[in-house]
Every structure is written in structure tokens, then in C-alpha cells.
């Protein structure tokens, strides 16, 4: 019933609009064509300018009210660089945006049709065209130069003292693994993947024995963090908006990203004046029906807190694997060596 009413109302509105259109046309057809064109150009030109002003006000107002919210305070070292680049881009494109749009609406209004006026025959002027080819090129070169300078810094090799974390995406959750005391992640082997050992970690390796899994990502402030990113099933994307970190998690191909957090969760809560604030890890690549739900909390803590937390973590191997398989059986576990040298 409701739907019928909606459709009925909709059709009614359309019919009314159609009738208005018909009447206006009937009236206008009777008039001299030039005069009619001048009149419509007048009123439409004015409406067009008005719509431009309205839109301009809308844009100005919303960017004023939303300003505090967009581009969240950057919580990492390279985030500030990106912030600066965004600012530069905002100024440059903003100026061009305002100038060109203002000119467009102004010209459209100013040069609307007049019966007695003639347009200027101005087919081309190579000097002007070269000028506005060269200037954008120069400006863009500057922008891209600044950008690439930082780009290579962001994707440089991680410092050796970086904390090694492995984050693996799966439908629809993240699995977080820490390198443990030796800060080295145990090697993975896809052929070992089972329900109990989704990641396919080679528990035989010594380095893997102290690795631990964590429910949340805990990282110390001001220390580089090297995130090894992977996926089990489909492509996911590791996205931390506040840290300006994004990297796809691709099954079969390990990717990585390193960054240096600069603001702890506590400090951020104060900045945001929101005691419930938490950094959140999101998935940013469509990965199925639960794509919108792949949340993981990221907690940035002080060095001391991190050390305390770290010492409380228990090796995953000792907790889970050793119990099932028995210490001895793992070592004698026959893992086809041939398989390890997979292409």
C-alpha cells in the first residue's frame, strides 16, 4: 500500500511538472525567437549563477564545519609528511578550483545572449596556450617531486631495530603474530596450513617457537614497527587511517609497511576529547560480505607499558601446538623438504 502511494505521488509530481513544461512552451512559442532566446538566456543565466553561488556557499560552509573531522590528526611520523602534501595539494587545487569555477559561472552569466551583441571571433592564440600548458606542467612537477621524495622515504627499508609484526587477513578477521623475544617471525609454509595452524607456521624452526599471537595490535610509541602483511584467502587491505598506513594483503605474496607511531592511544584520547577513542585497523579492499566488519583494535602505548605487556605474552607454540603434538613428535614431524623449496 505504502509503495503504491509513493509511486502515485511520484507520478503525480511528474505529471504536474510535465503540464507546467507544456504550458510554458505554448506561451513561449508564440514569441519572436530572438527575443525568446534572450529572455530564457537571461533567466537561466541568472539561475545558473545563483546555483553556483549556492553551491559555493554549501562547499564553504561544509568545509568549515567538517574541517576538524577530516584528515584525522596524524599519529605517525610519515603521516605528517602526507598531511603536508595534502595541504599543499589543497592550496594549489583549491586556488585553481575557485578561480576556474568562478570564471565559469561569471562568464556564463556575463556573456549570456544579447540580441544586439556579437561574439568575439577568437579562434586561437598559441602564446596563451603554451603558457597554460607550461605552467600546469611546472606546478605538477613540483607537486610530484615533493610527493616522490617522501614516497621513497616511506617505502625505504625498515630500520633494523623495528618491531616485527605479522598481520594476516582472512575472511573476516585479522590474525596478528609477533616475533617474540628474538623479534624474528618464524617462517611459514603454505603446505603446512591446517585448521589448527592456519598460517602454516613451521613450528619446527627455532625462531618460531617464541612467536605469539595477539588479540590486538599493541605497539610502543616512537619505535619503528615493521608490519609483514599477508592474506589467507582473498585480497584484503591493511588500513590504519590515523597512521596513514595502507597496504594490500595479497594471498601468496608477502607485502610490508613500516611506520613509526608518534601518539599513544591515551594522548589521542585527550586530543580528540573522546575517552573511548581507539585506533582501529580496517580492511580497505572488498573481500566478501563481511568486508565492513574486519576490525582490530590498535593500542599504542609507552615503551614501559609495552615491555610489561610483551613480557606477559606466552609463546603460541608452547601454549597450543606442543600440547597437541607433543614436544618430540614435532621435531620428527616429517615435512617434505622438497615442498619447502616451493617455486
Amino acid at each position: 500500500m505504502q509503495i503504491l502511494l509513493i509511486i502515485l505521488a511520484f507520478v503525480l509530481v511528474l505529471v504536474v511538472i510535465l503540464q507546467v513544461g507544456k504550458v510554458v512552451e505554448l506561451v513561449s512559442v508564440m514569441r519572436d525567437e530572438d527575443e525568446r532566446t534572450e529572455d530564457t538566456s537571461n533567466s537561466v543565466g541568472f539561475l545558473f549563477l545563483l546555483s553556483g553561488i549556492v553551491l559555493g556557499l554549501f562547499i564553504a560552509y561544509t568545509s568549515y564545519t567538517e574541517y576538524g573531522k577530516f584528515l584525522p590528526v596524524s599519529a605517525s611520523e610519515h603521516g605528517v609528511w602526507i598531511q603536508d602534501l595534502v595541504d599543499i595539494s589543497l592550496y594549489i587545487t583549491g586556488i585553481v578550483f575557485i578561480i576556474t569555477n568562478v570564471l565559469l559561472f561569471y562568464f556564463a552569466y556575463k556573456y549570456r545572449y544579447r540580441r544586439n551583441r556579437k561574439a568575439l571571433y577568437f579562434p586561437y592564440n598559441n602564446r596563451i596556450e603554451i603558457l597554460w600548458t607550461v605552467i600546469p606542467t611546472l606546478v605538477l612537477t613540483v607537486i610530484i617531486g615533493l610527493g616522490l621524495n617522501k614516497w621513497f622515504k616511506i617505502f625505504s627499508e625498515a630500520p633494523t631495530d623495528a618491531i616485527q609484526i605479522e598481520v594476516t587477513g582472512k575472511q573476516f578477521a585479522w590474525v596478528v603474530r609477533y616475533g617474540g623475544k628474538d623479534n624474528e617471525l618464524g617462517k611459514r609454509d603454505f603446505t603446512l596450513s591446517t585448521v589448527e595452524n592456519e598460517l602454516g607456521v613451521r613450528w619446527k624452526d627455532k625462531v618460531s617457537k617464541d612467536d605469539f599471537l595477539s588479540d590486538e595490535i599493541v605497539i610502543p610509541v616512537n619505535t619503528p614497527v615493521h608490519v609483514n602483511i599477508g592474506a589467507l584467502d582473498v585480497i584484503h587491505s591493511f588500513y590504519l587511517p590515523e597512521f596513514r598506513v595502507m597496504m594490500d594483503a595479497v594471498p601468496g605474496i608477502p607485502t610490508k609497511f613500516w611506520f613509526r607511531p608518534t601518539i599513544t592511544t591515551e594522548q589521542m584520547r585527550e586530543i580528540k576529547k573522546n575517552p573511548e577513542f581507539d585506533y582501529e585497523l580496517a580492511c580497505n579492499q572488498l573481500c566478501g560480505t563481511g568486508h565492513w566488519n574486519m576490525k582490530k583494535t590498535v593500542r599504542v602505548v609507552t615503551e614501559a607499558e609495552y615491555k610489561k605487556w610483551f613480557s606477559e605474552q606466552k609463546s603460541y607454540y608452547k601454549q597450543n601446538i606442543a600440547k597437541i603434538e607433543g614436544g618430540a613428535s614435532v621435531d620428527t614431524d616429517v615435512i617434505a623438504e622438497v615442498n619447502s623449496s616451493k617455486d
Binding site: 601468496g252 605474496i253 608477502p254 607485502t255
Partner: protein, 109 residues
């Protein structure tokens, strides 16, 4: 597309075709020879240099097929340009994916 071809042009064209055929044949023999000699004599040496030669040889063959067999050499210059210029996109695709391919190898290892 003139339907009548005078004898002189006819003989010239036929000769050009056979010449191209012979060149292609020789180049092919050269290529296969290179590949086999590597296989039989230099098996444990890297093949990269030989590969470069074979790619160049193949490009030469491709040139003769396009220019002589497909008769493109004798079309208007602008037509040749219009047809060959888009191939730079392919070159860039090949370069980019080769860079990526070797990069994946580094990532996986």
C-alpha cells in the same frame, strides 16, 4: 589495389617475397641453433645473453613478416605510423610487468 600488375613489378614483388622468406628461414635456423647449442654445450651457463639475441632475431623476423608479407612497407607513411605507434603502449606494458615480475620473485623469496 590496381587490378593490373605489370610484369616488371610482379617479378620484383615475387623476388622480394622469396628474399624475405630466405632471411626469415636463416634467422630461424640461427635461433634454433643458438638454443640448441646452449642446451648441448653451455647448459650450466646463464642464458640471458643468448635470450637477448633470440629476442632481437625474432623482432627481425617480425619486421620482415609485417613489412613484406603484410605489405606494410609499401603503404603510406602515415598509415604505418598509425599502426605501429600504439605498440609503444605494449612496450610499456611489457616493461612494467617485467619489472613487477622480477619484484614478485624478490618478495616471495
Amino acid at each position: 589495389m590496381s587490378s593490373h600488375l605489370d610484369d616488371a613489378t610482379y617479378h620484383k614483388q615475387v623476388a622480394a617475397i622469396w628474399r624475405a622468406t630466405i632471411i626469415i628461414a636463416v634467422v630461424t635456423v640461427f635461433e634454433v641453433g643458438l638454443a640448441l647449442s646452449h642446451y648441448f654445450f653451455f647448459y650450466h651457463h646463464p642464458k640471458a645473453i643468448i635470450n637477448v639475441f633470440m629476442v632481437l632475431a625474432t623482432l627481425m623476423k617480425a619486421f620482415y613478416i609485417i613489412a613484406e608479407f603484410m605489405h606494410l612497407k609499401y603503404e603510406y607513411r602515415s598509415f604505418i605510423i598509425i599502426l605501429t605507434l600504439p605498440l609503444i603502449f605494449l612496450v610499456w606494458l611489457i616493461i612494467a610487468l617485467s619489472v613487477e615480475g622480477t619484484f614478485w620473485l624478490r618478495l616471495i623469496q
